[in-house]
Symmetry: D3
Subunit: 236 residues, 6 copies
């Protein structure tokens, strides 16, 4: 029934390739089916003004999409400015990643996670969170190895998956074709222990019941488990 | 236990005053405790380019906050541009209101709902959705009275309320003091028949369980019922 | 002869309601007929860079109009930026208010007066100045009461009224209908003792004589007297 | 008593050099003492959207100042955007010039008058209006000569001069030294027959009486007469 | 003598991988040593306004760099706007590619070549031109295959290489370490038949002679030959 | 054969008038035929952040064009922002002038050279460089005279000229008519001793050979010699 012939609760193939750029402290390309996101983590020994002299660190994220990551070319954001959608997504990624970080243990430094979509096929923000966590993990590993932090500031995995109601059925990990048809869709961000970090369900031209909400959450748990395994495999 | 001495499941006082501005097709000031929002609905006989000649109408929203609506003065958005937060909120309001509108029945016209916060004390986006629906309802009533639409395009009430986990307890309708302390908070948008339209739960420096999610949703249902009654009373 | 059936030298009804917002140090809603402006005064213990360490205070103003304050909806300035007209008006309000302030007595602090038009029917800048003075007066009263200033920095009332030549006749306090027809219109800002602070007369598609200028000034003096009385009544 | 040793009612030397640029339909450099403004008039066979198919023409103005026209270098407006002051000035110039134009006789075309200050020493907006009229006059002469208009659309001269209260005395045509010290200053725009077009008197840290206002107006009339003579001489 | 131990006239390893993104009409990743650029070509059946109804096609380019393509993270251009450097580079790429295109044969359509630097180590604009040509070639092949063009609009290869004077010696294909030390550097864009398209030599804190210019050009010819061979191999 | 009837290697008349504005430390109007550029140099006793406490000075340039410097009026850059072309030109002018300056001898101060085109007829960036050098020379003379620098920081003349291939022939100093027809055009910046500083040759819809490049360089040398003589005469 799904355009991709997947089962209702079946993720697309997941691949995470690390160490993809020579300059960043941590990096990966995450591929969830045809959605490919390059994630890099940059460590800077400074924090935003509101954290000066608090001893607390910060994790923030920025998100972008190459103009021809999509089926028809989009206008370059460097020319037209970041859309509200982009700003909303990068705020989400930052919040999500911070939920898995002990900011005292990190110490007064900032890690910026850049997530740039090279090819898009739905679920880019979820891929960005999942891959962003890998880049973050690798960058923090460098800090640990260099003895710059003594307690591991990473408290748990953070991963995200989209779910929605497509053709009347709750489905896991929607691709673009499903996403553009679904009346209800959203994203679940969870920790490795399946605690919730962020829930965003949204209906356009439809509504949904508590029961459906519950079914979607069960699907999301299944997806996040698989994503966390892939993260484990990637960071070794 | 709550700073306002309310029960965990107690809303702040709700008041909706309609017909507050002479120019708008529909208008109200909604007051949820010390959060006051002026909502106006404007009907225009044109639609955005992507809807030209489709026979479908459009409902959109814009959101603003007066510089001294808050405890310390904020910089005027007309000077510094709309923040990502503002854009995220107004996209939410528009989506939420559209969930209660039959766009075929509305016909090829646009209704813009402006929500301007005169005084803020937490929950401004929820107040904006709830008051925005009243302004929209009143504007549509004018269309009906004038015979410009034959079927009522409003399919149900739309109302929203915030919930969160404050001091370890799920609470309903957080004010600013609670909101700034809560590790988990979010908004539920529902119809008059308590179908879900939008769920946004978000943790900062904390996580939450499925059980807590469920308790919050039960609180939200109670709050939305009261908001819908206030809407009913206001629009007569 | 006037659309509102007023006499040539008759003001619209004046009302000033104070204490309208809980956060601002001073606030009022001024209503001059159907023109309604919310004015708030914010005290900050810092001055612009050019006044650092001079011992002098500063009074500045910002002006805005809600999108549906007018008959047809205007584009939101937070989206399109402040127009030249808006900037011109807020510079005028600031200059006008400073004419009634002893900046040595105020001390090195800044008071920002925000004037936001909730409903417009002509004469919004004059209402903003007149109401802005009330908000300023109330904020300064707080400083005096708290013992933070010892000499009253307010030296006199400041009020403003529009005049113009409508249908060949000099008239006082034009509403929107008159304003949009008048070939000559302008604003007079005066102190409580009727000294001039600012005169702005402007013709579009017409010109005027010294005699007419003089008649307009006499009308303005009458209007300002009434506005100052309303200010007196409001601030007690 | 004046820094320039001029009499209270004495203008600075006036010079108007026409035909200074090969491309513009009309052009001049006006020099009022050390204030030098290059004015060009451009005719375009189109009008702004609000005038389409009305048969009416339009005259508009733009104003700029070279970065080193002033004693200390200002930031280039092409880099930082037009200031509120610049926008206010160019709206004034446009309004002023339109007061001397019969827009029906002009026909559905637009004349843009660019006023660029090459060297500034006070009174740049007045010089821009006075010189702008010369450029406009010359451009209109071309239209007449080419038979594109049959009735002369220029109905009268338009000229402007600044006045103010300097060291307690009303003075004519203030230079920068006077301007920066004057508590009261302003501009009078008049026609060749000394009808008023625009009056802008403004006090900063001072106020003024009706009598002083009247004296300033008398000075302005003297100044405008001299400026109109210089315009006559320039356009032949 | 060179940091990379290359000979003075030795290029870095060149690799061009085609078909790297599923959406674009043509695409490649070009790697010149550690400089990696993703190039995509997008065909649109419309041209810029100045070419409407001329029968002529257009080729344009846009250039970007991911924030962590460089050793220290750069600010994201979507946030701060395109720099002058970026605009200069993308104008260059567009001009260069157009030199190898018969715009009559292309017909009234536009091809946009996006060049996004994934990893930077000097010479990014030259890699972008060389890789951009490959993406363009592949996109045009699709047009030919689909019968939408009958004459091949590609008239010749276009490739580019940097040269400079490093440590007093003319060198070919500078990497970042050399580039940041070189007093003279520049870029040569040539066709497959070694005709010149663009020469940009620039000195900072140094100057150069005609003889040196000539030596650099000889080096550039050698580099371009190798790049053209790599292009040939890539497009088959 | 040239529209201006000049020989292939003939410059337009060159004139440089110095001391044209009272405020700038150095100034001139350079006229190359009908291209007229006002150049001013401003000395500031501060340097950009990256040079703080290095002992090195900085020379930078800004470039603008009055809206009616051209045959049809261009939009004012203060309204629409600086184009990529403008930014590219001003970066070129700054780089070019720095090639003739000993930044140690200049000491930690900045000289900003503003080049504003009053009338354009091709070759404005070359005129700006050549005239900019004169303004810079005059400003530095003031520093020397005031004893603020002890070694002359100017190491050589800097001048620039355009060349191109027009109607198949290499020509010197193209005017607008030639420039808009030429398939190949560019600019050579040289020192007084004819060392190269910058070479920018660019083809649009054409290509060129090494031999043609060499011929153009010979023409440029002839032009620069004449420009340097004019600079000598101007600065005395």
């Amino acid at each position: 029934m799904r355009p991709s012939h997947r089962n209702l609760d079946e993720m697309r193939p997941i691949s995470i390739e690390t160490g993809v750029t020579r300059h960043a402290e941590g990096s990966c390309i995450i591929r969830i089916g045809d959605t490919h996101v390059l994630c890099t983590a940059t460590i800077e020994e400074k924090v935003p003004p509101f954290l000066k002299n608090t001893g607390l660190g910060w994790v923030t994220a920025e998100y972008g999409m190459l103009p021809r990551a999509t089926n028809t070319r989009m206008r370059r954001e460097a020319k037209v400015g970041q859309s509200g959608r982009t700003q909303e997504i990068q705020r989400l990624i930052g919040r999500a990643l911070r939920a898995g970080v002990d900011r005292v243990a990190l110490g007064e430094r900032q890690i910026t996670v850049d997530c740039d979509v090279l090819q898009a096929d739905g679920g880019t923000r979820c891929a960005a969170i999942t891959g962003g966590w890998v880049a973050l993990r690798l960058a923090v590993n460098k800090l640990i190895k260099a003895g710059e932090v003594t307690t591991d500031p990473i408290t748990d995995h953070i991963a995200a998956v989209s779910c929605g109601i497509y053709a009347g059925q709750p489905v896991l990990d929607m691709d673009y074709l499903e996403d553009s048809e679904a009346g209800v869709d959203g994203n679940f961000v969870m920790t490795g222990s399946l605690r919730l970090v962020e829930v965003q369900m949204s209906a356009e031209g439809a509504t949904f019941s508590r029961e459906e909400m519950s079914e979607l959450m069960t699907l999301a748990e299944k997806g996040v488990k698989e994503l966390v395994e892939a993260q484990e495999a990637a960071v070794g």
